[in-house]
């Protein structure tokens, strides 16, 4: 009997230990998500399909993007309506130049809050450089299946005051460590936007969400579909790509 009790305790203890060894902390999950998206350079052609309300026709915008790390990016639009529009992200600065402008303009101040090309992404959404773990305190809220993937459900509360979204909810794929779904909340807890990943692709041993849908929950029938095509990772990119000269050329 005594043996029985001991072995039972052992089992309980071992299983408890195992849980501690093999389960990930929420921070670790977030780090894995961040790591998954870390690259030296990336090149891809993008397609944005923007729908704003039931009355408006969806718009399709295509672009070529080049980025180095998280703080340098260059985007040039290629669809007929926006051909020649260029964006350059240099650290904290965002420069833009239209087809018919002779000089680039810096987007600053409250202009950063504006929507980028009419999408459900604002300029500041694209300017996010910091890691999630640095800004949010995460807790695991449970597990759930999102579009066929087993996911951790994480609740993120802002740790710092200066932050765009006070609260996020993230569903992270348990194997691929891709954020399959993100909900963006206002300070009041009201759901503002919801991002869902429609398609994930494995490139160079890493998983990339290549088809993403962002839905504005405050407006009827308003969403942005974001697709990445012909992705090339970690190929050398000339540093001159990320200069104002290139932009104003």
């Amino acid at each position: 009997m005594k043996k029985c009790i001991v072995s039972l305790l052992t089992i309980i203890f071992v299983s408890f230990l195992a849980q501690n060894i093999f389960a990930l902390t929420p921070e670790e999950i977030l780090n894995k998500v961040d790591d998954n998206e870390v690259f030296d350079t990336i090149k891809y052609s993008g397609v944005m399909t923007i729908k704003k309300g039931s009355r408006r026709r969806p718009r399709v915008k295509t672009f070529q993007a080049v980025a180095r790390g998280k703080d340098k990016a260059y985007i040039e639009f290629t669809n007929p309506g926006d051909r020649g529009t260029k964006y350059l992200k240099l650290g904290d600065e965002l420069w833009i130049k239209g087809t018919y402008a002779e000089r680039a303009d810096k987007i600053s101040g409250h202009k950063l809050r504006d929507s980028m090309m009419g999408s459900d992404y604002s300029y500041e959404d694209t300017m996010d450089n910091e890691k999630l773990v640095d800004r949010y305190k995460a807790t695991i809220a449970g597990a759930e299946k999102v579009s066929g993937h087993d996911c951790y459900e994480l609740d993120l509360e802002a740790k710092v005051k200066e932050i765009t979204y006070a609260r996020l909810k993230i569903w992270v794929d348990k194997e691929q460590f891709v954020a399959m779904k993100i909900q963006y909340f206002a300070l009041s807890g009201m759901l503002l936007k919801e991002m869902t990943v429609d398609k994930v692709k494995k490139i160079n041993e890493r998983y990339f969400p290549i088809k993403v849908r962002m839905v504005n929950k405050q407006r009827k029938d308003s969403y942005t579909l974001f697709e990445m095509k012909s992705i090339v990772l970690d190929e050398p990119v000339s540093e001159s790509m990320f200069s104002k000269q290139q932009l104003e050329k």
Binding site: G98, E102, S108
Partner: protein
């Protein structure tokens, strides 16, 4: 007594006392002159406002996207007139044969921002085709420096900016401005413009906010090659705007899923222009009426004076057997002749004054002591000049003066000769 005879007598009376005649005539002339000039001033001032509203804001009838009206505050460029298959000219073709339509102009009004030393300035752009609009649009006469913009050519993006705006931005003809806007596709509109002209409408609110570009330039800036925000329609008779708009709507609605609506100027922006004009008309009619009454008082006064003064004469001719009706006629004719002479000189003087002022303009800002020197707003009012003005003032002078003369003259007929001869009344 025959009218002709009375008429000759009246004529003789007029030349008998030249000084008094002159005084009456001068009084009438002065009143008529002021009526003439006042009307010229008010019409000119009001026409200016009305012209600007019709030329730039409302047209007579406007075709816009139905959904645009709801969100006008946000100026959504994607709620435009884009035609049916190809472009907006389809809509123009569709409605162009409606009876009463004189011109249809494609136009686009849009918001733009400008980075001025790190601060964003909000501006309003107005894109139009100046050649097409030449018969209606006063823009080319409002250019105070430089010239009108030309059509788009690669690298040629010309604009005309308002005078006050230019001053605030510290720019002059030849300078360049880079502006940003949302395109119709909600993309980024970003263009460097060259200022070729400075415009002044004399309305500071307007000159502070607006700049003008060619439609072909805006088409690139806003990526609106095939669409415009509105079709401004001008009619042969602007009073027909409501029925014409109805006819246009009938044609538009015959298309399945029609996205457009035609609005007569009376019904635009919740009837605001109509109410505004009606309001101003009322106010000015009151002001105007007040002037007429004042001027009439001057004339009544003069005529009464003449009659009281001649009371003895009236008594005498009445005693000599002239009948009441004839006495009334005698004075009435005299008054009519004097008022014709007075009114004539009145419109000559008033007309000359109005004409001169209509050419040179009146700077109302200067009248107040020129405290606006820090912002050189040209507050010029160009009084109106036209034959109808002269005719009106003339008829007014003659009719009012004659009618006013009629009252005391008819009284003269009823008085007793004896009392009249004593000069007591």
């Amino acid at each position: 007594m025959k009218s002709f005879y009375i008429y000759r007598m009246a004529l003789r009376n007029i030349s008998r006392n030249r000084k008094r005649t002159l005084l009456s005539a001068v009084a009438i002339a002065l009143a008529v002159m002021f009526i003439c000039f006042m009307r010229s001033y008010i019409t000119g001032m009001w026409d200016n406002v009305r012209d600007n509203v019709f030329a730039f804001q409302s047209a007579h009838v406007k075709i816009v996207n139905k959904d645009f009206i709801k969100e006008e505050k946000l100026m959504p460029l994607d709620l435009s007139v884009y035609g049916y298959e190809k472009d907006y000219t389809e809509v123009m073709k569709l409605v162009k044969n409606v009876k009463g339509i004189k011109y249809i102009f494609p136009r686009t009004k849009f918001g733009a921002i400008l980075n001025l030393k790190g601060k964003w300035e909000n501006l309003m752009g107005f894109a139009l085709d100046p050649e097409r609009e030449a018969p209606v649009n006063p823009l080319k006469y409002k250019i105070v420096k430089g010239r009108l913009f030309k059509k788009y050519a690669p690298g040629r993006h010309e604009i005309v900016v308002g005078e006050v705006l230019a001053q605030e931005l510290g720019v002059k003809v030849g300078d360049k401005l880079t502006m940003m806007s949302k395109t119709a596709e909600e993309g980024l509109g970003h263009m460097t413009f060259k200022i070729v002209g400075i415009s002044s409408f004399g309305v500071p609110e307007f000159d502070k906010l607006f700049f003008f570009v060619d439609l072909s330039v805006a088409a690139r800036f806003l990526k609106m090659e095939h669409e415009v925000m509105e079709l401004g329609i001008y009619l042969d008779d602007m009073d027909e705007s409501v029925p014409v708009a109805e006819k246009i709507n009938k044609i538009l609605e015959s298309r399945p899923d029609n996205p457009y609506i035609a609005q007569a100027w009376e019904n635009q922006s919740g009837g605001q222009y109509y109410n505004w004009f009606a309001m101003a008309d009322n106010i000015y009619n009151i002001v105007y009426f007040v002037f007429l009454v004042l001027a009439s008082l001057v004339i009544i006064n003069t005529t009464m004076m003449v009659i009281y003064e001649r009371m003895k004469e009236i008594g005498t001719i009445a005693a000599l057997g002239m009948r009441g009706a004839s006495i009334v006629k005698l004075f009435f004719y005299e008054a009519v002749i004097i008022s014709i002479i007075g009114s004539f000189f009145g419109i000559v003087a008033g007309g000359a004054l109005s004409y001169l002022m209509s050419q040179s303009g009146i700077n109302i800002a200067k009248l107040t002591g020129g405290s606006l020197s820090d912002i050189a707003i040209s507050n010029m009012i160009y009084p109106y000049f036209g034959l109808d003005l002269l005719l009106f003032a003339f008829v007014f002078g003659v009719v009012v003066a004659s009618l006013c003369a009629f009252i005391p003259a008819s009284k003269a007929a009823r008085i007793q000769p004896v009392e009249a001869m004593k000069g007591v009344l």
